[in-house]
C-alpha cells in the first residue's frame, strides 16, 4: 500500500462509524428517557397523581450497591429479564415482564451482566423478600441452597459471644446446622451486609411501564 491518506482516513472512519452508529445514536435515542406512570393520558403524558417509575435507590440500598460492585456479584448474576419465549426467564419465575431501557435510567452504574452462574437478580426483591433468607444465604449459601457454588460471604458478618441478650438482627441459623455458631455465640451482619441485603430487596420489577406490561399468562 502506498496511498497513506486513504489508509489513515479508513482507519479513522471505521471506528468513527461504529461509535456514531452504536453509541452516539443510542445516547441520542435513549439518553433523555424519563420516569413515567404505568399508563399515559390522552396527550401521552404521565397521569397526574400516579406513581412514577422506575424509583431511585434509597440511601442504604445505594451503599449496598457499592458492596455488590466491589464484591463482583455481576460476574455470576445478571440483572435483565428477556422477552417471553426467548430463553426461560419467565418460566423460571425471574420476572413478570421483560426489562426495558427505561428500567435502568436511574442506575449510576448499570449491571446487566453477561453470566448466569447464579440466577438473574433483576426482580430478586420481589421473588425472595425475606431479610433472614438473604442473611443466611450470604453468610453460608449451603444453609439455604445446598450444592450451590456461590462463595460464602462470611467476612461480611461478625461471629461474637452473645452479650446480656441476643442481638435483634442476629442471623437465625438452626442449631443442628453444621454452620451454626457455637452455643452462646451469634452471627451478626456488619453494616455492609445490611446494606447489601437492602440493595437486593430494592431490586424489583413489580411495576408496569407504558411500553411494557406484565405478561398475560403464566
Amino acid at each position: 500500500m502506498k496511498n497513506l491518506p486513504t489508509l489513515f482516513l479508513g482507519i479513522f472512519f471505521a471506528l468513527a462509524f461504529s461509535w456514531t452508529g452504536l453509541i452516539l445514536s443510542s445516547h441520542l435515542f435513549l439518553g433523555d428517557l424519563k420516569s413515567t406512570t404505568a399508563t399515559l393520558d390522552e396527550q401521552g403524558n404521565p397521569v397526574e397523581g400516579d406513581p412514577l417509575y422506575p424509583l431511585k435507590l434509597s440511601g442504604i440500598a445505594r451503599e449496598g450497591k457499592q458492596v455488590y460492585i466491589d464484591q463482583g456479584c455481576v460476574y455470576c448474576h445478571s440483572q435483565q429479564i428477556r422477552t417471553k419465549g426467548y430463553g426461560a426467564d419467565f418460566e423460571r419465575g425471574w420476572g413478570e415482564r421483560q426489562t426495558v431501557a427505561r428500567d435502568y435510567i436511574y442506575q449510576e452504574r448499570v449491571m446487566l451482566g453477561t453470566m448466569r452462574t447464579g440466577p438473574d437478580l433483576a426482580n430478586v426483591g420481589t421473588r425472595l423478600s425475606s431479610v433472614q433468607w438473604h442473611m443466611q444465604h450470604l453468610y453460608e449459601p449451603q444453609i439455604t441452597s445446598p450444592g450451590s457454588i456461590m462463595p460464602p460471604y462470611s467476612y461480611l458478618f461478625e461471629v461474637r459471644e452473645i452479650g446480656s441478650r441476643p442481638s435483634p438482627n442476629a442471623v437465625s441459623i438452626p442449631f443442628d446446622s453444621p454452620y451454626a455458631p457455637p452455643e452462646g455465640w451469634e452471627v451478626v451482619p456488619t453494616p455492609r451486609a445490611e446494606a447489601l441485603v437492602a440493595y437486593l430487596l430494592s431490586l424489583r420489577v413489580d411495576y408496569e411501564l407504558p411500553e411494557m406490561k406484565f405478561s398475560e399468562d403464566d
Partner: protein, 493 residues
Amino acid sequence: MQGTQPDIRMPPPPPGLSQVKREAERAKLSEIDRSMRVAGLLFVLSAVVWLMVGTVFALIASYKMHNPEYLAQFEWLTFGRVRSAHLNTMIFGWGNNAIFCVALWLMARLSRSQVRHGGFLVLAGILWNMGVTIGVTGILSGEMTSVEWLEMPMEVAPILALSYAMIGVWGIVTFSHRQTGHVYVSQWYILAAIFWFPWLYTVAQVMILFVPARGVVQPITNWWFAHNVLGLWLTPVSLASAYYLIPKVLGRPVYSYYLSVIGFWALALFYNWAGIHHLIGGPIPIWLQSAGTVASVMMTIPVIVVAINHHMTVIGSFGTVWQSPTLRFVVFGAMSYTAVSLIGSAMALREVNVVTHFTHFTVGHAHHGVYAFFTMIMFGSIYFILPRLIRRNWPSAGLISIHFWSCALGITGYVVALSIGGWIQGLEMNNAEIPFMTVVRNTVPWLTARTIFGILITVGHSAFFIHLVWMLLPERFRRVPSSYDSFGADPIA
C-alpha cells in the same frame, strides 16, 4: 492500495543478492534491534511476570468455582475480585506489554527505522506497569468498578493513558522515519491498532466511569469497548505478527496481496460493530442487536480471507512450521483465529445465542480468542524477537516443547470442556422443568475439568518463565549454540 504491482514481498533480500549487500542488510537490522534492546526486554519481562501472576489468579478463581469454600475467608480473594484481577493482569499486564514489544519491533523492522530515544519508552513502560500494579491492587482491595474489562479503579486511567500515549506515539514516529517505499500489511494493522486502542479506552472510561451515560448506553459502550479490545487491539497486532513471521521464517512471499487488502478493510469495517452481540435479548433497541448480529456474521469475510492467505502461504512447508518454534505457535494461533471467529459468528445468531449466552460457553470462547489465538501468537513472536534483541539464543529446545505442548493441549481441553459444559448448561437453563440448582450441579464436572486443563497450561507457562530466566543468566550457566539462529529461524531476519 494502488499500484498494479503486488508489492507484498518481505523486506529481506532475495537469495541472489551479493554477500556484501547481505552483510550490509544484516548490520542495518542489528542496529534497529539494538535500538529496541532495553525497552523490548523490559516489555517482554514485564509481560511474562504478569503472565505468571495472572495464571495464579486464574487457578484460584477456577478452583473456587467448584470448591466455593476454598480461601473463602479472604475478602480480597473472593471470586468476583480474583477473576477480575486475572482478566486485568492478563489483558493489560501480559497482553499489552507483549504487544508493546512485538508491535514496536515489527514497526521498526518493517520501516527500516531505528527506535529513537528508547529511554522514553523505558520510562513509559515503567509507568504502564506501575499503573497496572495499582489497578490490580485496587481490584483486590475493593476499589473494583464491576464494569467488564474496565475493573481497575478509574484513578488509574490517567496513568495508563499517559504511558500509552508515550508508547503509541513511538510507533508512529518510527513509522514516519521509514526508509522503505511501500507499507507492508503488518504495518497497516499496527498503525490501526495503535490508533484504535486509545480511542476505545478513552471513550469507555469517560462514558462509563467519569461522566456515566444514562442507563443502557453504559452496557452498549461497555461491549463496544470490550469486544473491540479483542477485535481492534489484540487481533490486528496478532495478525500483523503472523503476516510478518510466516513468510519471514518460510522465506517466501505472502500468497496474495489483494487478499490481505480485503482482509484488512473488512476487519476494520465489520469488527467494531460486532460487540453488541453480548447484549442479544437484553433491554436495548432491537436494531442495535441486529446490527451486532449482522456485523458478526460479516466477520466471516475477513476471517476466511486471512485464513486462505495464510494457508496458501504455508502450504507445502508444514515440515518447516513444525521445526520452527516460532511458527509452531504462530500457526497454532492463526488456525485458532479461523476457528474462534467462525464460532463467534455463529454465536451471534439468535438461535445459538439463546443457548450460549449467560453460560460458560462464552468463557471458553473468550479464552479461545484471547489465549489460543492471541497469546499463542505472542509466544511465537517472543521466541523470534527476543534472541534478536539481546543476541542470545534460547538455551533449551526441550523447554520450548514443554511450553508448546502443555499450552496447546491445555487450551484445547479447556475450550472443549467449557464449550460442552456451557452448551449443556444453556440447554438446561432454557428448560424450566429442570431446577436451577440441578443446572448448577451439572456444570461442576466441567468446571473441575477446566481447573485440570488450567494446571496443564500453568506447567507450560512455568517452562516459559524458567526458560526466559535461564536465557538471561550469565553465559557460564547456558549452553551456547554457535549463533542465535538455530531452532529453525531465518538467520538474516
